[in-house]
Amino acid sequence: MLLILCWSLAPIVFMVMASFKPGQDIFAVPARWQFTPTVQHYISLWSQWRGFFDGLLNSLIITAGATALVIAASTMAGFAYSRNRAPSLQRSATFLIVVRLLPPIVVTLPLFGVVNALRLNDTHLILILLYATFFVSLGTILMRTFIDQIPYELDEAAMVDGASRATILWTIIRPLARQGMMAVSVFVIVYAWNEFLFAFIFTSTRAKTAPLVIAEMMGSLDGVDWGVLFAASTVQLLPVLVFVMLMQKHLVAGLTGGAVKG
């Protein structure tokens, strides 16, 4: 058990610790456990890599946009798939899952030209759309499972009162399916915040995300400043790590269909 803990946590602990170590101590042999903590690397990060903070902001905008889009689209579709069991319709739900077999890197080829032609290159919008596309399938299936658990009698009662589908979705399903929305949002947020491939191919300056700036720091030719690199990685990780820990219950519920209580 200790081994498992060490395996899971040691890399994260090393990263955070190194970000507070004075530069010469990071690569000290043997590794130094006692050192005077310093925020020097964070200060350098702020003064030398302003682009990293722009990257964080871009990541935030893109993550928020993709999450909102996925939640809206998959709640709507999940609602329809849950309440209408016509075989032809359910086949289109299966289709949503099957197309996810396409490796993301394959669609970058044709999209690269089209995105350039539409001048969507290096915009927040293209990443929002791409990230949403790759999670709307899972989102829809999850939402269908969660909406299935809401009794259909509630819909019927509202229909008798003359409520439209939209009203039912908004006033009955939306509040009761909150659990499902939380689960879906955990997946999308973690993915969109950390994604590398699409950001790497479709952004260059204006919409560059935080992971991309970190990759740039790592690849800089004039020697890597490891302290600053660790500081940036820590800043990038911290919000999403806290988020995952807080939302652990929803993450587990989403992955296991409620079999495991987190």
């Binding site: 899971s8 949503l96 890197i105 590398f196 995952v244 652990q248 296991t256 079999a259």
Partner: protein, 302 residues
């Protein structure tokens, strides 16, 4: 307006199925415009000779011939298979062990679960930063630990095999939380009465594992395995960020090979052909997944 309802489309729109269409439209619009149509377009591209600023020309299967005759492609494919087989099976073994450990009752289970899930939050980029540091050949703590144990260090930037080993380690570390959770859920769905009955009959721990746990978890293990095969097969970022495919293109995987073809050599035809080879292999694995899924749901009598 009245006449329109007589047409077939009109009737479809009035049917309950038709009423559902506007609701599923946004999800399908995204998937069709950014996945399905581009995917089909790649198939067309793979039959053309094209590059920037040149009108495409039909060349039949030439691109496929080119790719299948390229030693770099075969090396990339071999590397990918090695990584897929290594990563997925180690992940399943570790995940299974952890699932059994968690199910056997642990103190502070909530906190342990949180700790085990932590790598899920880490981005590929940050993970690459840390693992590069841990396995630094001069001062990396993990490499020094290996040396202290009398084992050879991982010279991942020079030795391609070591490079692939580090890529695999990183990939396992990032994805183990996910695999573990699936297996843990499967373990918890094994009815507790079976274990009580077995214990009453005096079965040993090994017998219980062999005769109850393993067979009942098998469908879930198979599903997790195929699922992970499909996802590790498209590995790109881990390799790109750690070794960049080097030294001398020796640690390239198929994803990196495709990227190089398209964006370094501007050979969109070859890249598209590679893309469709990836799609076909994924579809094959996916078909296996569907068969396993159907068998599982029939086993549950649903």
């Amino acid at each position: 307006m009245i006449r329109r309802q007589d047409t077939r489309i009109g009737r479809l729109l009035q049917s309950p199925t038709g009423m559902a269409l506007p609701w599923i439209a946004p999800a399908h619009l995204l998937v069709w415009s950014l996945l399905v149509i581009p995917g089909i377009y790649v198939l067309w591209l793979s039959l053309q000779a094209s590059t920037f600023g040149m009108s495409p020309q039909f060349v039949g299967l030439d691109n496929y011939r080119h790719v299948l005759g390229d030693v770099y492609f075969w090396r990339a494919l071999r590397n990918t298979l090695v990584v897929v087989l290594g990563v997925v099976h180690v992940e399943l073994l570790l995940g299974l062990g952890m699932a059994l450990l968690f199910a056997s009752g642990l103190p502070a289970r909530r906190w342990l679960l949180a700790a085990v899930l932590a790598p899920y939050a880490v981005s590929e980029v940050s993970a690459a930063v840390v693992w590069r540091f841990l396995f630094d050949t001069q001062a990396g703590p993990a490499n020094l630990a290996l040396a202290a144990l009398g084992l050879p260090m991982l010279e991942w930037s020079i030795n391609p095999n070591h490079g692939l080993a580090l890529v695999s380690l990183l990939s396992i570390w990032l994805n183990l939380p996910f695999t573990f959770l699936i297996l843990y859920a499967a373990r918890l769905s094994v009815p507790a009465e079976l274990y009580e009955a077995a214990r009453m009959d005096g079965a040993t721990a090994w017998q219980i594992f062999r005769r109850i746990t393993l067979p009942l978890m098998m469908p879930a293990i198979l599903l997790a395995m195929l699922f992970r095969y499909i996802f590790v097969f498209r590995i790109f970022s881990e390799v790109w960020l750690l070794t960049g495919g080097g030294p001398a293109r020796q640690t390239e995987v198929v994803g990196v090979y495709l990227y190089q073809e398209a964006f370094t050599f501007n050979a969109f035809g070859g890249a598209s052909a590679t893309g469709w080879i990836m799609v076909l292999i994924s579809l094959l694995l996916g078909a296996g997944y569907m068969v396993a899924l159907r068998r599982q749901s029939m086993g549950h009598g649903r």
